[in-house]
């Protein structure tokens, strides 16, 4: 539609690099585990099928959380702290590496819009992406789109963990138990559908809140993305020149990557610190 292959190539590269980076961290975490028992066993094979082994399990884990398929070939609950954190983070980024089945690439497109808006001013023009000006309407739509999921995950997990009844639903205590709760809401709000396992969510509270997370986590970003697309489609295209922000090079890739890390990932840094990060560092 844009008629420029390079524009897409940049986004694909960002997706690919993120996926590869997450995969590497997860793999390292699994191969060099920090638990006494797993170290004694030589590798973190608990919860994994022997015929897949660590590489195939991790590959599947990182890919399934990046694509919202919901399928698993190993128990994410049994991953080491690092690898568990990676699959969790992969969802919390908001389906960008590479994007959910059915939802497509709007996740990274919205983040690209945010990146253009934040840093695009640095070339001395009001922000424009793919020949379209980004003004008040576009920024509002993009902001709603990126606000929805963190709101649901943070409020949901925060509320759940505050309730005494939650403690009974958990298989594990401490940081790992918290990861289980966080994963449940992250998976629901990102229309992922995979389960960390280790948490029993049959209570009315979980059924209701996870249902709400699923409903709004799926449709609010979609509606916002459609509104954004509509407002952009109505605009006349501005021809690109030497003065326009180049969005088809490595530099822009760095920019989008930076935005994903600083805006999307850092939101969950405190939550992740209390769960997988604390577990991985212990």
């Amino acid at each position: 539609m844009v008629g420029n292959r390079r524009q897409g190539l940049v986004l694909v590269s960002v997706m690919g690099l993120l996926w590869a980076a997450l995969l590497t961290v997860a793999w390292l975490s699994e191969v060099f585990p920090n638990g006494t028992a797993t170290q004694a066993a030589g590798a973190a094979m608990e919860g994994k099928e022997v015929r897949f082994g660590i590489p195939a399990s991790i590959l599947f884990g990182v890919s399934t959380t990046g694509t919202s398929t919901g399928a698993v070939n190993s128990l994410h609950d049994s991953f080491t702290g690092g690898a568990g954190g990676v699959v969790l983070l992969n969802m919390l980024l908001g389906e960008v590496a590479p994007g959910g089945v059915g939802a497509g690439l709007y996740g990274i497109l919205v983040l690209a819009v945010i990146a253009v808006f934040l840093a695009g001013l640095m070339v001395g023009r009001t922000p424009e992406y793919l020949g379209k000006k980004l003004g008040r309407v576009q920024v509002t739509a993009a902001a709603i789109s990126i606000l929805a999921m963190p709101t649901l995950v943070l409020l949901g997990a925060g509320l759940a963990i505050a309730l005494p009844s939650t403690l009974d639903a958990l298989n594990n205590s401490g940081e790992h138990g918290f990861s289980e709760v966080l994963y449940a809401y992250a998976s629901a709000a990102n229309n992922n559908g995979s389960a960390f396992a280790g948490i029993t969510v049959t209570s009315d509270f979980f059924q209701t809140t996870l249902g709400i997370a699923m409903l709004f986590g799926r449709f609010v970003p979609i509606l916002a993305a459609l509104a954004l697309a509509g407002s952009l489609a109505k605009q006349r295209s501005v021809p690109a020149g030497a003065g326009t922000l180049p969005t088809d090079g490595a530099l822009f890739g760095v920019l989008v990557g930076g935005t994903i890390v600083l805006v999307a990932a850092l939101t969950f840094f405190p939550a992740l610190a209390l769960g997988p990060i604390a577990e991985a560092l212990s």
Binding site: L121, A162, V238, P246, L251, S282
Partner: protein, 686 residues
């Protein structure tokens, strides 16, 4: 060729609107204003800083209820954060106020001599004038309001408005008829028709603008505020959620700590400086004697794709200059040069002076009249003779248009006529030089006057091209002349034999292609095009209609300034983007400071995240809060001055600024927080 806005001498700013550079004294002077801005109703306009304000109140209450050194220090520094943000805005506004004060002095009470029906004069107060009133102004009197001269011609001192002390001529009809209230008539008598209501005059609008009273948020500023508000909400949620999560993990976080985390994470740096950046951008225009009627126009200036530039005065000098001598009839060049110089010695027109300069530069003749020459009898140019020259010792030398000189000499020279035709064809102006002596009359040669492209203008166009801006030269010349000058000046395109309608059509065509167009103009017939252009800069010397139609007025009436206006617009946007990027990149370090401090008691392993080796949890949190507040003060000069800007392509600008403000934004707080912690750890109780 000046490359950066920074290097340009500030001396260009005249006394009337001159503002000093940023100094620490301004911070102190603006403190009362900053304190006044602590009013929550003022804070509410800025969502990011309002959150900090609420946080400061919460922490202060908490500190009163459960006093501790730590809680009080956090409270104090949160208030400092709010105060510093107010200070930034107050300093920016303060510079405008000083300028407004100077302007207000010109607005003293005037008594107008209103012409009644039948020509009778009556004395009324300047503030009682209505639109359409006719007033008489004579030498020594102050013009009571904005208007157009409808009768007479006068020299006017406009230094109160423009800072330019040389008087200007204002006359009825034509494009030099507009006069501004508050300026003084130096000679003669004029009748002025008042065109603006008292209180809405140019000076009034100028005062409102520089004071920031009529300041409204620009479209991009609004959009950025929305995004910053969204980020604030996200971080608010993140912090709210941390409370139960941390409680579950085994430690309840105090409100003081949670508020400190929140304030450090939300984009306070850009939130605090955003309005100051906007005000300072307007201020930079005012310092260059350009008045924008809206901030929107300044923003649009940064987006300009096509510049329409008038040839005369912008690309070439306003007057033609002598560039070559062509002797005829066997006359030597030296002979012609001597005669040309002699005939122009007393000629004070720019053309005449340029001839003397040419003969001095290229033929080694004296540049000034010698003592013997000074007493010669000069024949000035008149509309009848269309020649000027000198009579000396029975010999008469004249220069003028070909036909006039032919009539004077009574002879024709085919050689001279050929050269005259050739020069005219190239767009130059030929002046024929002839002499009458005892031996009869003879044509000596032809002086070529041509448009001279301003030095450095070609480099500027190259820089503009690098920025992605196309330049189009507008001229009334024929296409052949236009092409020669366009090639010499290095513009991208030209519009020859341009009429106002052609200009309008060109603007519309560019805009249909999605491009933004900027132009300058002064005549009434420029008004529609000025209104149609995205940035229309009217010359102050122009008509009221032109000034009404444009969205900027250049008080110096210098069309070249359009280029500077575009640069200022770009600089404003870059400053905004750079500080936003810096602000958000700062978060990484703050997380690494605060999170381990908050959770290390629960999970000692998280101490590994304390990569800055901050002394204690309290010192880490306090250092982050102090850094967050101090960085605002540190960046006030940058916000007011604007970031360094060199015209170059978007790709290289992005690369450069991403390095400085993106990477700098990640690294600086790590160093800053570490250094502050070295001091903070010395405080007892921390």
């Amino acid at each position: 060729m000046t490359t950066g806005l920074q290097e340009r001498p500030a001396a260009a700013a005249p006394a009337a609107v001159g503002a000093g550079a940023f100094s620490p004294r301004q911070l102190v002077a603006s403190l009362p204003d900053a304190l006044r801005k602590l009013d929550p109703r003022t804070q509410l306009r800025n969502p990011v800083m309002f959150v900090v304000w609420v946080g400061s109140v919460v922490v202060t209450v908490f500190a009163i209820l459960q006093p501790s050194v730590f809680a009080w220090l956090i409270a104090v520094w949160l208030w400092f954060t709010v105060l510093f943000a107010n200070l930034a805005e107050a300093v920016a506004e303060g510079r405008g106020k000083a300028q407004a004060e100077t302007l207000r002095r010109t607005k003293r009470e005037t008594v107008a001599r209103r012409l009644g029906r039948g020509g009778a004069e009556e004395q009324v107060a300047g503030t009682d004038l209505k639109v359409g009133d006719l007033v008489v102004v004579e030498a020594g009197e102050t013009i009571p309001g904005d208007g157009d001269v409808v009768e007479g011609i006068a020299t006017v001192d406009e230094s109160a408005i423009t800072g330019e002390s040389a008087p200007v001529i204002r006359e009825a009809g034509g494009d030099r008829s507009a006069v501004t209230g508050g300026t003084t008539v130096l000679s003669d008598r004029i009748v002025v028709r008042i065109t603006t209501k008292p209180g809405e005059t140019f000076v009034d609008r100028m005062i409102a603008l520089v004071e920031g009273a009529s300041r409204q948020k620009t479209p991009n500023e609004i959009a950025l505020t929305i995004l910053l508000a969204a980020l604030t909400i996200i971080f608010l949620l993140a912090v709210v959620a941390v409370a139960p999560m941390s409680a579950y993990a085994g430690q309840e976080q105090t409100l003081t700590v949670l508020t400190a985390l929140l304030v450090c994470l939300i984009p306070t740096t850009i939130g605090a400086l955003l309005s100051a950046i906007g005000i300072a951008g307007m201020d930079r225009l005012v310092q260059r004697n350009v008045l924008a009627t809206s901030g929107r126009a300044v923003e649009a200036a940064g987006d300009i794709d096509t510049l329409l530039l008038d040839k005369t005065g912008t690309i070439t000098f306003g007057n033609r200059q002598a560039t070559a001598l062509h002797p005829v009839n066997g006359v030597t060049v030296a002979e012609l040069a001597a005669a040309a110089r002699l005939s122009s010695l007393a000629d004070q027109t720019p053309e005449g002076r340029s001839i003397v300069e040419l003969t001095a530069r290229e033929h080694g003749l004296p540049a000034e009249a010698t003592a013997a020459e000074a007493v010669l009898e000069f024949v000035p140019f008149t509309a009848q003779t269309r020649m000027s020259g000198v009579d000396v010792e029975g010999r008469a030398v004249r220069k003028g248009a070909g036909s006039a000189v032919a009539g004077w000499t009574g002879t024709t020279s085919r050689e001279a006529e050929a050269i005259v035709d050739e020069i005219s064809g190239d767009g130059g102006t030929p002046l024929v030089v002839a002499e009458k002596g005892p031996g009869g009359a003879r044509v000596l040669g032809v002086i070529r006057l041509s448009d001279v492209v301003k030095p450095g203008i070609k480099e500027r166009f190259t820089a503009l091209r690098a920025m992605g801006i196309r330049t189009v030269m507008i001229t009334g010349d024929n296409p052949r002349t236009a092409r020669v000058i366009a090639a010499e000046a290095g513009v991208d395109d030209y519009l020859a034999e341009a009429t106002p309608e052609d200009k309008m059509a060109l603007i519309k065509k560019e805009q249909e292609g999605g491009r933004l167009v900027a132009m300058t103009g002064d005549g009434t017939n420029d008004a529609p095009a000025l209104a149609q252009a995205d940035v229309g800069v009217a010359m102050n010397s122009g008509t009221s209609a032109a000034k009404e139609a444009g969205n900027m007025v250049d008080l110096d009436s210098d069309p070249t300034k359009l280029i500077e206006i575009v640069e200022i617009g770009k600089q404003l946007l870059i400053t905004r983007g750079a500080l936003t990027t810096f602000s958000i990149a700062n978060d990484l370090a703050k997380y690494f400071a605060i999170l381990p401090a908050m959770f290390v008691a629960i999970y000692p392993s998280l101490g590994a995240l304390n990569i800055m080796q901050l002394a204690t949890p309290q010192s880490a949190i306090l250092s982050a809060v102090i850094f967050n507040a101090l960085v605002i003060v540190a960046l006030i000069p940058l916000a007011l001055r604007g970031v360094q800007y060199r015209p170059s392509s978007a790709a290289s600008l992005l690369r450069r600024n991403l390095w400085i403000y993106g990477l700098g934004g990640v690294v600086t707080p790590f160093i800053g927080i570490f250094l502050i912690d070295l001091l903070v750890r010395l405080i007892p109780g921390i």
